[in-house]
């Protein structure tokens, strides 16, 4: 066991600290910019880190990843433009808080719980890895299918008071994810003969359009939507806000939210192929259901903000559990990190803890230091970012439009992605008019392939039988949760329709 801590000191060496600091800062900036994502940042840096030694390379990649996931919350809170998919839930309560004049405090609360959630995930990584790895191994193709459907339904049910609209958005996201080549049979679905659709619709340009471009146009049309209320209250200093955020995190009801969200984030992060996106929504849903004030969610609830941000950063540490123990990526970014580790002669997998225990210690230390830097840089950048965002909304949103174009183009270096971004931007504008939430659509696009492929793999594995979908233990739990989530709102709709028709009959 002590061999695992051999390289912990290496993480505290000046060179490593410098790489971690710069990587964290770069990650925060990338995550905060609507056109860029954590996956993009890490993917780009892999080739740049080739010339570095293995510890420096890992330090850069880990710090950029964690920084970017956290950074997505800044634009989510201050602009209502989630910088990363996992911050979509953060925007629900972060932006209303910013409009109430509590943007700086909300940002610092997000910072503290992100750092705290990351630390929790790290502790889980150190002490419970075998248990969580064993649990994640119990997830078969049936469970992955239900998990994907669970993610879509939970996002649909949380983002709007009209469940049917949320469900339509989620299903629409699933549908869009099927455009392109079928991964199992190679058949071109819904391409209508156009080669540009063969590669499918890229998630990132679609998200940039839905959230970035649509918000930019909407804000320019109605700049009063970004007006920040001047409460007339004395502004707190950074130190006071930091202490307030710690108090929120460590006393009820925030303490309950923090612990629950950290556990949810870590476990979901440990499930291969899932990642921080679904973790933040699941934690948000759990917080809303257990809150004494669920009506505040979506209107500026610190509990909602804390749940989302804690879970997505706890998941960032959780994804290292299957990565290190099983050699399986927890999400797209860790798939890239596995590639980088192999480039540097490391072999993550079942024997990693025995072959390279010192690297386990280094990775744990790097996660710890990065979370500390997130806290320090996040608080330090608050004043700077808030100053920048005091510029007229029209000017800021013009830059968001430029970044949306540039960010969409940078994914695959093709204008088709820019056109996709514009199309989804128009779709996003239409959805806003109809009060259909965009977040379930984004999550549907992320989870669509997971649902489709695992549905069919499950049928192959079960000799075309549907029964295992409903009889496996974890599947039963997921199906029961789905039925409860859909059943409640459906009953409400039916009762509402019955009351409406009986009133008409009485009249």
């Amino acid at each position: 066991m002590f061999k695992a801590f051999g390289m912990v000191g290496a993480a505290f060496a000046p060179a490593s600290l410098a790489y971690l600091f710069c990587g964290c800062f770069l990650g925060i900036v990338v995550g905060a910019l609507p056109g860029l994502t954590a996956t993009m940042a890490v993917s780009l840096l892999v080739s740049l880190t080739y010339s570095l030694d293995r510890t420096s390379a890992l330090a850069v990649l880990i710090s950029v990843y964690l920084g970017a996931i956290y950074g997505g919350s800044r634009s989510a809170i201050l602009l209502n433009v989630p910088g990363t998919p996992s911050s979509a839930a953060t925007a629900l309560d972060g932006f209303p808080l910013a409009k109430k004049g509590e943007g700086p405090l909300a940002s610092i609360v997000a910072t503290s719980v992100s750092a705290g959630g990351g630390m929790f995930g790290l502790l889980a990584l150190l002490f419970t890895t075998p248990m969580i790895a064993a649990l994640s191994l119990k997830f078969g193709v049936w469970e992955y299918f239900w998990l994907a459907m669970f993610g879509v339904v939970i996002a649909s049910s949380l983002t709007t008071s009209t469940f049917i609209k949320g469900l339509i958005a989620g299903l629409l996201g699933l549908f869009f994810s099927y455009i392109g080549m079928d991964e199992i049979h190679g058949f071109a679905r819904f391409t209508f003969g156009r080669t540009s659709f063969m590669g499918g619709i890229s998630l990132v340009p679609a998200m940039i359009g839905l959230f970035g471009f649509a918000e930019a146009i909407d804000s320019i049309m109605a700049p009063e939507s970004h007006l920040i209320k001047d409460t007339g209250e004395k502004k707190q200093s950074l130190w006071q806000m930091t202490m307030t955020s710690f108090k929120m995190m460590l006393t009820p009801p925030g303490l309950g939210v923090f612990i629950r969200s950290s556990i949810i984030g870590t476990i979901i992060g440990a499930i291969p192929g899932v990642g921080p996106d679904i973790a933040s929504w699941t934690a948000y849903g759990a917080a809303k259901r257990t809150s004494k004030h669920p009506e505040k969610f979506g209107n500026g609830s610190y509990e909602g903000l804390m749940a989302s941000e804690t879970a997505n950063n706890a998941a960032c540490s959780g994804v290292f559990i299957p990565l290190l123990t099983l050699g399986i990526p927890g999400c797209a970014v860790t798939a890239v990190i596995i590639g980088a580790m192999r480039l540097h002669g490391l072999r993550p997998g079942p024997t990693f803890f025995f072959d390279s225990p010192e690297m386990v210690g280094f990775i744990a230390a790097a996660l710890f230091i990065t979370n500390v830097f997130i806290q320090l840089q996040g608080v330090g950048l608050t004043t700077v970012i808030n100053k920048v965002l005091e510029a007229p909304v029209g000017a800021i949103m013009s830059v968001v439009i430029v970044l949306s174009v540039v960010g969409s183009y940078a994914i695959s270096i093709r204008m088709f992605d820019v056109y996709t971004m514009l199309a989804f931007g128009l779709l996003g504008l239409g959805m806003r008019r109809l009060k259909i939430p965009a977040a379930p659509l984004a999550l549907g696009m992320i989870l669509g392939p997971l649902a489709d492929l695992n549905f069919r793999r499950a049928l192959y594995a079960g000799q075309y039988a549907f029964r295992p979908f409903f009889t496996r233990p974890i599947s039963i739990v997921l199906v029961a949760s789905l039925v409860l989530m859909i059943g409640g709102p459906l009953v409400k709709v039916i009762r509402g329709a019955r009351n409406g028709s009986s009133k008409r009959t009485a009249a």
Binding site: F175, I396, I413, L434
Partner: protein
């Protein structure tokens, strides 16, 4: 808005019934449920069903509220000065963005196109004066160019 919701819902029903039939006709390798069209069929059918429920709900509320009144409420903002102003801002912002992507960038390349776009947008919507607008736009464009070309090493459109 109930008029629009009812119409959009009805349109979605038709669209997804169409896509469901397209999905049902996709080639089958061994069994239908493991084929390419299986899950798209399920999703299209669910979408058609949900859209039908939404249409029915919206229509029921529309009937209760009164169709004529709803149409009047829909058109009312366009008769007010603030409503017209918002519509013009929306069309201008959207139009300029489309012009930027489809005309300015292909003809003038990224740097010049972006400077022009940002100058016009900052003056029109950011309430900046010409000189500060030009300085800010040049600085922002230079920053984006430097970040993408020299730090991230990504090509620009």
């Amino acid at each position: 808005m109930l008029v629009v919701e009812t119409s959009v819902g009805a349109l979605l029903v038709l669209v997804f019934v169409y896509f469901a039939t397209v999905s049902a006709k996709m080639p089958i390798a061994d069994k239908f449920w493991t084929g390419s069209g299986a899950f798209p069929l399920i999703v299209s059918a669910l979408l058609a069903l949900c859209s039908a429920i939404w249409t029915a709900e919206s229509f029921s509320r529309l009937k209760k509220a009164g169709i004529r009144r709803e149409v009047d409420d829909l058109v009312k903002p366009l008769k007010e000065k603030s409503g017209i102003s918002r519509l013009l801002r929306f069309l201008a912002a959207l139009g300029l963005s489309l012009l930027y992507v489809f005309a300015l960038i292909p003809w003038l390349k990224f740097v010049i196109a972006t400077i022009i776009f940002l100058v016009v947008m900052s003056m029109a919507f950011g309430r900046l004066r010409p000189v500060p607008a030009v300085i800010t736009s040049v600085a922002v464009t230079a920053g984006i160019y430097a970040a993408f070309r020299y730090v991230l090493m990504l090509p620009l459109p």
